[in-house]
């Protein structure tokens, strides 16, 4: 039993390790404090966004607006949060709240989340264009400092994902409320029957997604020093892939926060690995698809094995 429980996380760990070994082999320079930082620092916002997506997938929904939402959060961070911190903070809080509201609305009207978030992706994107019609803005100094801090032993790019994984693991897997939230994904009716207000739980899950989405936007601005309205569009699909790569499933509340973080790191690393291979430009895009397929195919071997035992 425990093997099964653990094996959900083994696969992402192994894929990451194999890919990392291959990267080090091809580019030994990466095997240093400096190298690891360059390799992984842009994975930090992706990891946060993946966690946000995981919160939604956990309650059996899917969020197609996450990329635009993170972009919007980044725009707010690079403008309001820098110029008028109080107002900026208020706006970010309002964004989180509106995510929670969205969750409650999806539950109350029994709306398909995929459609609502599709609609919201236009809304967030439009708001981001209002705030930053042009690329620009400046990262708040403290944020830049936080994202470029150099802790002893391991670079920020390694420390931050570990912290994110640990915190979300405690929150989602260990804590009581996290268990109930996963229960909503497993069988919402039974959670409802046990007397939990499912609408609040949905709001909580979406609110958490909003929180991590905002954090992702902030982390991104801390790294890039400025923002634009399209900066994180890619995160929508990337975060979904990250959750799946990390051993999560689209339905049934089966998610793993640590796996999701590892999935995000793996995706980032896969892109770097390809660029070290120096393919012809024609095939660079296709190779990204191929490597995604390859990494996920490993899932198959594991699940066959899992079924066999």
């Amino acid at each position: 039993m425990n093997i099964l429980l653990r094996h959900r996380i083994i696969l992402p760990v192994v894929s990451l390790a194999v890919l990392l070994a291959a990267t080090f082999y091809m580019q030994p320079r990466a095997m240093s404090y400096f190298g690891l930082n360059l390799l992984f620092n842009l994975a930090v916002p992706i990891a946060l966004a993946t966690i946000a997506q995981m919160m939604i997938i956990m309650v059996n929904d899917i969020d197609l607006s996450l990329g635009t939402f993170v972009s919007l959060a980044a725009c707010v961070t690079a403008t309001f949060l820098n110029d008028a911190p109080i107002l900026g903070l208020a706006i970010l809080l309002a964004l989180i709240l509106s995510y929670a509201l969205l969750g409650a609305m999806i539950h109350a009207f029994e709306l398909p989340a995929i459609v609502v978030t599709l609609g919201m992706s236009f809304v967030w994107g439009g708001l981001a264009l209002f705030i930053l019609p042009l690329p620009g803005g400046v990262s708040p100094g403290w944020l830049r400092a936080l994202m470029t801090v150099k802790p002893p032993f391991a670079p920020m790019a390694v420390v931050a994902p570990i912290i994110i994984a640990a915190v979300t693991h405690l929150l989602i897997v260990r804590s009581g409320i996290g268990t109930v939230l996963r229960g909503v994904g497993g069988n919402a009716r039974s959670v409802q029957r046990a007397g939990w207000p499912v609408i609040w739980l949905k709001a909580l899950a979406y609110g958490l997604a909003g929180l991590f989405g905002v954090l992702a936007g902030m982390a991104l601005v801390g790294l890039t020093t400025s923002a634009d309205a399209n900066i994180a569009l890619r995160y929508t699909l990337l975060s979904i892939a990250g959750v799946i790569l990390g051993g999560g499933e689209f339905t049934g509340g089966k998610v793993s926060p640590a796996g999701a973080v590892i999935g995000a790191l793996t995706l980032t690393l896969a892109a770097s690995f390809l660029s070290f291979m120096r393919l012809s430009p024609d095939w660079q895009i296709g190779a990204q698809g191929a490597i995604l397929i390859l990494v996920l195919t490993a899932r198959l071997i594991f699940s066959r094995k899992g079924a066999g035992t």
Partner: protein
């Protein structure tokens, strides 16, 4: 009461409202012109939307994200093969459909053999198709043969030819879903794959055919769109990714699968064109246009779903 409960109604109402708002601006002038444009461009969205609808009907998690890449690849290869020579239109069509079928089979092979979730499988495959398109033609815009271009931009009985194609396909899909055994199999598979299998439905055949069908619809759209706009471009399919999903869900099909809605797809396709035109006509900037489009989509979905719940 029963007509209000029809989920496709809302997309048509929304399209009509957008149409009326534009005409309000011009004082009724240009109605025919606008309707013609809406039918032309709506047809492309409707055809990919019909394909996407079939896939979404297969149940939760089923969606084809490779539509844009398949469109581009099919159009690129077909137009390159035709090279603008007259009389090659049918050969080009065959190539486009062949590319579509191959892409569909490849997508399904990834899903079936490697057990990848369709979202991921089609996303990954689309990157490969994109590479193939770049490699094969390096983004050169080759003109379609004149006869084909004339057909794609031409009209018959006052309606654009592409809209006739879209209409014919819509009717075919409607008959399939409402009357045909295969359609029943598809709907059963979408509701509960395991139960359908145990009821004797050849579920894998159904899934395979559906993924091939959506890719062929996308390929056909790519072929027509390239002929319509004077050549294939590498990014020509980009906007059809969200568009194909949007027209399905605005059209009233259930995203949970097993339930689909052909007339709604056409209504939603017209709406998606008209709403942008309306906002452009009223001089809305990109930001306002996006916010309003999103808000309207959500409003339609809420209206459709609360109506359904009440009956």
């Amino acid at each position: 009461m029963t007509i209000l409960a029809k989920p496709w109604l809302w997309s048509w109402l929304a399209a009509a409202a957008a149409f009326a708002l534009i005409l309000g601006l011009t004082g009724g002038r240009g109605a025919g012109e606008l309707a013609y444009a809406a039918l032309s461009f709506g047809a492309f969205a409707a055809i990919v939307g019909l394909g996407q609808m079939l896939v979404i009907t297969l149940g939760p998690g089923n969606v084809d994200l490779s539509i844009p890449a398949t469109m581009t690849l099919a159009a690129t290869l077909a137009l390159k093969a035709m090279g603008g020579e007259p009389g090659t239109a049918f050969a080009g069509l065959a190539i486009a459909l062949g590319v579509g079928a191959a892409a569909g089979i490849a997508n399904y092979a990834l899903i079936f053999l490697l057990r990848l979730p369709p979202i991921i499988a089609t996303l990954a495959a689309s990157l490969v198709y994109q590479s193939l398109a770049i490699w094969s033609n390096r983004g050169l815009r080759i003109k379609p043969p004149e006869g084909l271009a004339d057909f794609a931009t031409g009209r018959f009985l006052g309606m654009p030819n592409v809209a006739w194609v879209g209409l014919a396909l819509a009717i075919a899909v409607w008959v399939l879903l409402e009357r045909a055994v295969a359609g029943r199999w598809l709907l059963a598979t979408g509701q509960n794959l395991r139960a359908a299998r145990l009821a004797g439905v050849p579920v894998e055949l159904v899934r395979a055919c559906t993924y091939v069908a959506v890719a062929m619809f996308a390929a056909l759209t790519g072929y027509l769109l390239a002929s319509f706009s004077g050549g294939a471009a590498l990014n020509m399919g980009a906007e059809y990714l969200l568009m194909s999903i949007a027209v399905v869900v605005i059209g009233g099909s259930s995203i949970a699968g097993g339930n689909s809605n052909v007339p709604g797809v056409w209504g939603a396709a017209l709406f998606m064109f008209l709403v942008v035109s309306m906002l452009n006509s009223y001089g809305a900037g990109a930001g306002a246009r996006n916010v309003l489009t999103g808000a309207i989509i959500i409003a339609i979905v809420i209206a459709a779903s609360t109506r359904r719940a009440r009956t």
